[in-house]
């Protein structure tokens, strides 16, 4: 079973994301801050990471960079999910190694597309 790591600090978003991804038949792991995200990713080596940018402690960009720096985790596709919609934010996400960027608010079809694309 493919593993998806969701890094998100909003519990209501976690609720619907987790439910949707589980229903689609994937294993979901959720962490609410950047430090935990890096730790868990190195531990379980997920097949896809959905990564928020604004997080307590370490932000999404730093998480992305940290994962790309490690050989074990650098191949994992990272898709940013964020309310930030300005060009420079999106550019930064791609620059640090993100493969895609989904702007909040998104709906489940957009998530479905991402799952189809990277898994």
């Amino acid at each position: 079973m493919k593993k998806i790591l969701v890094v998100e600090d909003e519990k209501n978003i976690i609720l619907s994301l987790e439910m949707f991804i589980k229903k689609k038949g994937f294993e979901v792991h959720v962490v609410k801050n950047g430090v935990d995200a890096v730790k868990l990713a190195q531990e379980i080596i997920p097949d896809l990471i959905l990564l928020d940018i604004v997080l307590p402690g370490m932000n999404g960009y730093l998480v992305c960079e940290a994962l790309k720096d490690e050989d074990e985790t650098k191949e994992i596709p990272i898709v940013f999910i964020s309310a930030k919609s300005q060009e420079e934010d999106i550019k930064k996400a791609y620059d640090c190694g993100g493969v895609d960027y989904v702007i909040k608010p998104f709906n489940h079809s957009e998530i479905q597309e991402i799952l189809n694309k990277y898994l």
Binding site: L15, L17, F20, K84, S85, Q86, I103, H108
Partner: protein, 614 residues
């Protein structure tokens, strides 16, 4: 002549010339008379004496003949002839005696007289000798006594003749002299008259013309606005009176002018005070871009002094090419022309950054002539600050909306897909309503964010040369199905060979999308919808129009619809966010274009926007 009138002066000169002419005439008459007397004199003095002398010669010769005849023929006839000629001789002698004119003439006549008496006496002796002693004795007596006497008498009469002839020549010469001197003297007097006449005329003309010239010069100066001119008044003639009136007139003009100037100064000071007190900056430049006015607010904004800046070129005082460029372009614009009238600038004033909106307009006279440019500086620092706060607020709020919206949209989506489990029809209906409105909320948030970014200039325009037709085709694509469903006729009139425009492809495409979406949203239900899109080239702009036959927009909303959150009232909510036109306006303005609408209720609306040609 100094105190006399011009009339008197002219008359005096004319009379003087007339007197001279009269003198000349009198002199000529005198000379004529002298000449005539001289000729008469010749007649009287000599001609008669000459005639008498000749007659005496004839008479005595005849007497001599009579004496010769006496000695050879009849006594009586010869004696008669002698006596007759004696009378003739004496008559002429007395005529000559009455007309003694020449020196020595009297002596000659006295001698003739005594000789002739002797001659006549000797004739009587001859007659007696003839009668008594016969012809031979008579002949002897004649040759010895009478003939020498006859010759002598004749000689004297010849002398008389010669004397008088000589006198005649003398008198003729004198007459000639008189006529010559008369000619010269008359010529002299005439010349004198002419010279005096000319001199007097010149003097008089100068006398009259000089003050008139003076007057003309002064009047010219007055015409140029110098009312201080005064004429020197001397004398009492007409010109002096004119000068006096002239001086009175200039004094009145001057006091009138001073009064006017005073009034004008007061008005100007009032106007100046008003202009100075206006809190917005005002800069006025003339048609050569020289500064005519800089009020206090403008002085402060640019840190310049009006006194030092006046009459200098704009750029010499204010080193802002961007402002000057607009002023230069504005100079020749008509009030109806479309052009960029505003410029927002930031200036550092007393260590603070102040923002100004410059409103630059031509100064046009009533006759339609442009005489300069007025630049109004509206301080929009406060507005900008408020706007920034508002933008930040809107940006923050809409950003903060996104997270809760994500869970709502996700949750609703999952419910409708029955991921957690099946739902009944009523539940489904409710959830669908939630989905629709959350999508609207999503669009609103996204539009708000776009707009606030656009307003703060955070969104950069990617302006390239583009074909307007290509942009439109891109914008129309997503509407294909909607147009077919609603049975709306979309007509694109844009020609293929139009020039390119300078445009950000995606942003202008967005504007088209928005305008077409609006048109579709407000199309009438009762008649067939029609949308016409056209583009025309003007001098340096592309004018694009999107026309519909919808319900139209009332006049009060035609300006407002380009503001945020304004939707024309009296229509049901058709699902717009009220931000589309505001964003369109921001996009078009960022392209240096304008956007506006013409509309009539019930007939439809036409939206226009302009883009620069590429």
């Amino acid at each position: 002549m100094k105190n006399r009138s011009v009339k008197f002066k002219i008359l005096s000169v004319l009379i003087l010339i007339f007197i001279l002419l009269s003198a000349n005439s009198i002199w000529s008459i005198i000379n004529f008379n002298r000449l005539s007397d001289s000729i008469e004199n010749i007649m009287q003095s000599n001609y008669r004496s000459i005639e008498a002398a000749q007659s005496m010669t004839v008479a005595i010769e005849r007497q001599d003949s009579a004496e010769l005849a006496q000695m050879f023929s009849d006594k009586d006839t010869t004696s008669n002839s002698f006596r007759e000629n004696e009378v003739e001789f004496l008559r002429n002698l007395s005529r000559a005696e009455d007309n003694i004119t020449e020196e020595g003439e009297e002596e000659i006549l006295k001698r003739i007289n005594s000789l002739y008496i002797d001659y006549v006496d000797k004739y009587s002796v001859l007659v007696e000798i003839q009668n008594s002693e016969g012809s031979n004795a008579a002949k002897e007596y004649y040759y010895n006594e009478i003939l020498p006497l006859f010759e002598e008498t004749k000689e004297e009469t010849r002398k008389l003749l010669a004397l008088n002839q000589q006198g005649m020549i003398t008198r003729k010469d004198r007459a000639h002299d008189i006529s010559t001197s008369a000619t010269f003297s008359t010529m002299l007097i005439s010349l004198l008259t002419i010279i005096i006449g000319v001199v007097l005329s010149i003097y008089l003309t100068k006398k009259i013309v000089k003050p008139i010239r003076n007057l003309i010069d002064k009047i010219k100066k007055i015409a140029e606005g110098d009312y201080k001119q005064q004429l020197d008044i001397s004398g009492n003639d007409e010109i002096a009176r004119l000068a006096k009136e002239f001086n009175t007139m200039t004094q009145k003009l001057r006091s009138y002018e001073l009064l006017n100037i005073k009034k004008l100064m007061e008005e100007k000071q009032k106007a100046d005070a008003i202009v100075e007190s206006i809190s917005d900056g005002i800069i006025v430049t003339n048609d050569e871009h020289k500064l005519l006015l800089v009020n206090r607010a403008a002085e402060k904004a640019f840190n310049i002094r009006e006194r030092e800046a006046l009459n200098k070129h704009f750029l010499e005082v204010i080193n802002r090419e961007d402002i000057f460029k607009i002023i230069e372009k504005t100079k020749d614009k008509k009030p109806t022309d479309e052009y960029k009238k505003y410029l927002d600038i930031s200036l550092s004033v007393e260590d603070k950054t102040e923002h100004y909106r410059l409103n630059i307009r031509p100064i046009t006279t009533k006759e339609g002539e442009n005489i300069g440019v007025v630049t109004l500086m509206q301080n929009i620092t406060k507005l900008k600050e408020v706007d920034q706060i508002k933008s930040d607020f809107v940006s923050t709020v809409s950003h903060e909306f996104r997270t809760p919206l994500t869970s709502i949209i996700m949750g609703v989506g999952l419910l409708l897909d029955e991921v957690p489990g099946p739902i009944n029809e009523e539940q489904k209906e409710l959830v669908e309503a939630i989905e629709e409105d959350s999508e609207r909320l999503k669009k609103l948030v996204s539009d708000l964010l776009d707009l606030s970014r656009m307003e703060s200039g955070k969104i950069k325009m990617d302006i390239e040369r583009n074909n307007i037709r290509d942009i439109l085709n891109n914008a129309v694509k997503p509407f294909k199905r909607q147009l077919e469903e609603k049975d709306v006729d979309l007509e694109i009139k844009i020609r293929d060979n139009l020039s390119n425009v300078k445009a950000d492809f995606n942003k202008i495409s967005w504007v088209f999308t928005n305008l077409i979406g609006n048109a579709l949203r407000y199309l009438p239900d009762e008649k067939e919808g029609k949308i016409i899109i056209d583009a025309k080239e003007t001098a340096n702009k592309m004018l694009v129009s999107v026309a519909d036959n919808g319900k139209g927009i009332s006049e009060e909303y035609q300006q407002k619809i380009f503001e945020k959150f304004i939707q024309a009232k009296d229509n049901d909510n058709k699902g717009g966010t009220g931000l589309g036109l505001a964003i369109s306006k921001e996009i078009i303005n960022a392209h240096g274009g304008e956007i506006w609408v013409n509309s009539k209720i019930g007939e439809g609306s036409t939206f226009y926007f302009t883009l620069n040609l590429g």
